[in-house]
Amino acid sequence: MLKTLRFYIKYTFVLLAGYAAFVALIVAGAFITGLDGLFGTYTSMLPSMGVMFVGIFAMTTSGYLDVALSMGARRTHCFWAVELCNLLEAAVMVLLAILARQLLGGLPDPVGVLYDHGPKAWLCIWLVGALILQTGLLASQIRDPRKQRFARVAMVFCTMILMVGVTVTSILVVLDNALVGGLWPAGLAWLVEHLPLVLAAAALVFGFLAYRQYRKAVVFA
């Protein structure tokens, strides 16, 4: 397991270094041009952007799986190594978002406002992040370009919808200041009430499906 983690972690560090440089750039830009400009908007979107990036990174891991398997790595080790790396990516991205918020001070932060709605909203945003990660991971495992083209497109589409959903919801929450009331159609009240459970169940299902795909992954000739 440690060998496999060592293999994957290098790519995680490379991705995080790139993301950190991106954050540094937009924070510097916000310092210079002010919070009302383009850089300020980007900086205020950092938390949800982090969630999106983790999903995208998860989708790109199939190439590394091919290398690891071709050198004798175990499939289960690859799966858990990727999950751990994604967790690390998410944690660092949140830290960077918090750091940027501290540096700039008083920034309107969509997810920050979301957190103010209490633990349920806070939990929901993280569970959506977990769901994006698992769908991205599953999308990365639909690898046969001949047989699974539709499935792959569907999974990538599903992940993108979730990512856009997170961003739009974050913005709407800021605008309406209401996650639980007003924003959702009345017929979906049960969903809103049990949203953390629904999201957790969906993340688990997609995670399990991704795990199953990993268990039977092959190296393509």
Partner: protein, 306 residues
């Protein structure tokens, strides 16, 4: 050296079956890879060589049968997988699936992580010998240079069972000679098992101690190369005399070429049968491994006209 020499584990495949959709690729393949031997795996395009090697190394799934190493299953078995290196050909599929997208240094770094006997000094020497630019992505190298990367990985892995799939694809003749010499030097030093899958049979024939021929999803030959080559001869002479002599000695004719009344046959038989054919006044000439492969697996395609 001694560690590898002491390794006496057999890699054994029994009753391996594999299909891709409706296309059956392997039909009950049985194979036993002995320790300390250089194997040549040969077969025509699409016959399932890479599929078989992938299954032997736990990199591909199979529909039926078992693969064991030292009596233990290979699939997801870290102890078995640590002893096996399957260095795959860098083809378009490799590029699409990520292996080709790696930089040379990252690919070799992965080798250093996963292969417990990785020889970093040897890898560095080989990179220098082949003049590889380690900062380049593998798919941006020439076909021959990409093959060299797979050779570096295979040799530096020092794995007791090292498998190379089309190792000299795209390499010039000098580089191919370099590879054969490196392989033999390594073998002399470590005595580890090599399995080399190749289409360049004529060149590689001299290094194969044993040869495995795969045809129509089955292993049709698995024996020492010299022993196999010794069973085949070209027999030629007047058509009637050739036919009569073959019938009387009972040797097996595989493929024939006729020129007027003159006929030449690829024949499989024993030393006594070849002596009888020679005594009958026919010309009996040795066959190369490549020629006997064509006779066994050509199925008449070698004489087909477009």
């Amino acid at each position: 050296m001694s560690e590898n020499r002491m390794n006496e584990k057999f890699l054994v495949a029994q009753g391996i079956e594999k299909s891709y959709g409706k296309q059956t690729v392997l039909r009950g393949v049985n194979l036993q890879i002995q320790p300390g031997c250089i194997y040549g795996l040969i077969g025509r395009n699409g016959v399932g060589k890479t599929t078989l090697l992938g299954i032997l190394t736990g990199q591909n799934t199979h529909d039926a049968g078992t693969v064991t190493y030292g009596g233990q299953p290979v699939w997801e078995n870290p102890a078995a997988l640590a002893d096996i290196c399957f260095s795959r050909e860098m083809n378009s599929a490799a590029a699409n699936q990520g292996r080709g997208a790696q930089k040379v240094k990252d690919y070799l770094r992965a080798g250093a992580i996963f292969y417990p006997r990785w020889d970093a000094d040897y890898a560095a020497r080989l990179v220098q010998l082949f003049k590889l630019d380690t900062k380049k992505q593998i798919m941006k190298l020439s076909k021959g240079q990409a093959s060299m990367v797979t050779i570096v990985l295979a040799l530096a892995s020092r794995a007791p069972i090292t498998i190379l799939d089309e190792p000299v694809a795209g390499m010039d003749v000098v580089a191919r000679e370099q590879f054969y010499r490196l392989l033999l030097d390594d073998y002399a030093e470590t005595g580890r098992t090599f399995i080399v899958s190749t289409h360049i049979i004529e060149e590689a024939a001299n290094i194969f101690e044993r040869v495995v021929i795969l045809d129509e999803g089955r292993v049709i030959e698995d024996c020492p190369t010299d022993e196999l080559v010794d069973q085949f001869r070209y027999v030629s002479g007047e058509e009637a005399a050739v036919t009569a002599a073959l019938q009387s000695c009972g040797a097996q004719a595989l493929s024939a070429q006729s020129l007027g009344r003159h006929k030449m046959l690829a024949v499989r038989g024993s030393a006594a049968q070849f002596a009888a054919l020679e005594a009958a006044g026919l010309s009996v000439e040795p066959m190369s491994l490549q020629n006997l492969f064509v006779a066994l697996c050509g199925h008449g395609d070698e004489n087909a006209k477009g």
